[in-house]
């Protein structure tokens, strides 16, 4: 009964990953029908490719800043949602709106908000002359905002689920002992929420480091490649240039980065679990 699932995962997921690694060791331009084995040649080129290094640092910056903001903002939302008030389920539904919107649609929606002449953001924020999507430095932060908008609800809901597992008695006891709201937050909520926070961080960092749709639709990696992430650079090399060898090399490196992050997180999580069990 598991056979179909196994076959599908092996044929459509694992085999392609290995094939990408194999392709990454070739010189292969699709239109020229050439395919030469070059071993690790592409990887040597990659190390001296400044565009790769800038894509790598763009990706890291995007992931680090976006996930940090999402975590703080999401925690705020979760705390609000956790407070009892009438109409709470309506609010929960309302904050899910960005999550339910296709990423491409949310990118287009924000592109309109960022429009340098008519955009709402441009008019509401001070500094009217800023062309958010057209100026290096600004464009990356615009992309981060789009990601924050899209995924903070998801973060909030994960954290809310964690918050709801904390027994209320602890807070009552703390109140009796005279601990204020802020003290309660740092001494009870944060420590007990630790595992949920780590899991949320894994999910979000993985997603943010393979980001494609949002940034590609918003800026296509521009201006001047300042928002070009690893996935976008790999995609352009594969499908626009038609360079399947080097494009695959970039894909493999993206894959290795993402896997490296997962392994690192799982190690941290594993260590924490071990401590908790003792």
């Amino acid at each position: 009964m598991v056979l179909p699932a196994v076959v599908i995962l092996v044929v459509v997921a694992f085999y392609p990953i290995l094939a990408t690694m194999w392709l990454s060791m070739h010189r292969m331009i699709l239109v020229f029908h050439e395919e030469t084995f070059v071993g690790l040649g592409n990887y040597g080129f990659l190390l001296s490719d400044p565009r790769f290094w800038s894509a790598l640092s763009n990706t890291a910056y995007f992931a680090a800043v976006a996930v940090a903001i999402e975590l703080v903002l999401g925690l705020g939302f979760a705390l609000i949602l956790n407070a009892a008030f009438p109409g709470r389920s309506l609010l929960r539904a309302a904050i899910l709106v960005p999550w339910a919107i296709p990423t491409v649609v949310s990118a287009k929606l924000w592109a309109w908000l960022f429009n340098p002449e008519y955009g709402l953001v441009t008019h509401l924020l001070p500094g009217h002359d800023v062309n958010w999507l057209g100026m290096p430095g600004y464009a990356m932060h615009a992309a981060i905002l789009v990601d924050v908008w899209k995924t903070t609800p998801f973060v909030a809901l994960l954290l809310l689920a964690g918050l709801q597992t904390i027994p209320q008695d602890i807070y009552k006891a703390a109140q009796v002992d005279g601990a204020g709201t802020i003290r309660q937050f740092f001494s009870i909520t944060l420590p007990l929420l630790r595992n949920t926070i780590v899991v949320t961080l894994i999910f979000r960092t993985l997603d943010a480091s393979r980001v494609f749709d949002a940034v590609y639709v918003l800026t296509e990696g521009g201006p001047a490649n300042t928002t070009e992430t690893l996935s976008i650079y790999a995609y352009k090399t594969l499908m626009r240039v038609g360079d399947f060898g080097y494009g695959s090399t970039l894909s493999v490196v993206t894959f290795l980065c993402v896997m490296g992050i997962s392994v690192a997180y799982l190690k941290v999580l594993g260590v924490e679990r071990g401590k908790g069990a003792r």
């Binding site: 598991v2 699932a5 599908i8 990953i17 809901l157 689920a161 899991v199 393979r210 494609f212 997962s262």
Partner: protein
């Protein structure tokens, strides 16, 4: 004081989350002459909605998206439910390996599989065919399906399965007649999440499909070009059409979706 802070946070959160989409809806019903103004539209018009279908195959694109998402969901449930049942109730070698493998697949960046999949799909002549989307979508939604459904089957008491076996059912009959109906809420949650995933997917749809009539909604919207300038009103209308069903479904099944999303993650 504390209450005031809470209400302020509440209003800020709702504005931040729902505001941009509400603005998109307002844009979609603006007369074209007022597209560039920031106030409320003076009248309501649906010209952007008719415009979105005018001169481009947007109707066909919607049909494509529905087809791809529905077929992927059905495949995923068929393949995923039987595998999840086996993972939860049967003892067999490689159980852990399969769970771990599916977890690993959920971490793959899509770009890492694009180049060989493109070559394979080209070689079997499926480029520009919706099948070339349904197969990878099913694969990459499978880990999520397995994790949610395995959890649901594990929560069903083993006694029910054993009782069915004692009454003479084969494992497969026990699965179909006894466990599957009990896991219906899990199937519904999974179906919604897989449907949303397939409805939203962009990278494969952008890579494997090139004819405008064969595109899915995200690609069509991303390439919604006008002759001279971006048709923002029509893009807004198309966005609302592509999103409103999802928002309605999400609000309606909000609890189930949250349960599904957090099932793997928080227990994790």
């Amino acid at each position: 004081m504390k209450k005031a802070a809470l209400w302020f946070g509440l209003v800020a959160a709702i504005t931040f989350c729902a505001g941009p989409f509400v603005w998109q809806m307002i844009t979609s019903i603006r007369p074209e002459s007022e597209l560039t103004s920031l106030g409320m539209p003076s009248t309501m018009t649906f010209e952007s909605y008719t415009g979105a279908f005018h001169g481009r195959p947007f109707g066909q694109v919607i049909i494509n998206s529905v087809l791809v998402a529905v077929i992927t969901t059905v495949f995923c449930l068929a393949v995923g439910a039987s595998a999840a049942f086996a993972l939860a109730k049967l003892d067999f070698r490689g159980r852990k390996v399969l769970l771990f493998a599916s977890l690993a697949v959920s971490m793959f960046p899509p770009i890492a599989t694009v180049s060989p999949l493109y070559l394979i799909i080209r070689n079997v002549g499926l480029l520009d065919n919706l099948t070339s989307l349904i197969i990878p979508y099913t694969t990459f939604a499978l880990p999520l399906t397995l994790w949610i459904l395995t959890g649901f089957f594990e929560d069903i008491p083993d006694e029910l399965y054993r009782a069915a076996r004692v009454d003479g059912c084969t494992p497969f009959q026990a699965f179909v007649k006894v466990l599957l109906p009990l896991a219906a809420p899990g199937l519904a949650t999974t179906a919604i999440l897989v449907f949303i995933f397939s409805w939203n997917e962009f990278l494969y749809a952008l890579t494997f499909i090139s004819t405008p009539e064969k595109r899915t909604i995200p690609v069509a919207i991303s390439l919604f070009a006008g002759e001279h300038k971006e048709p923002w009103g029509e893009i807004a209308a198309a966005s609302v059409i592509a999103t409103l069903p999802l928002i309605v479904v999400t609000m309606f099944f909000q609890r189930k979706i949250v349960a599904g999303l957090t099932a793997g993650a928080v227990k994790g």
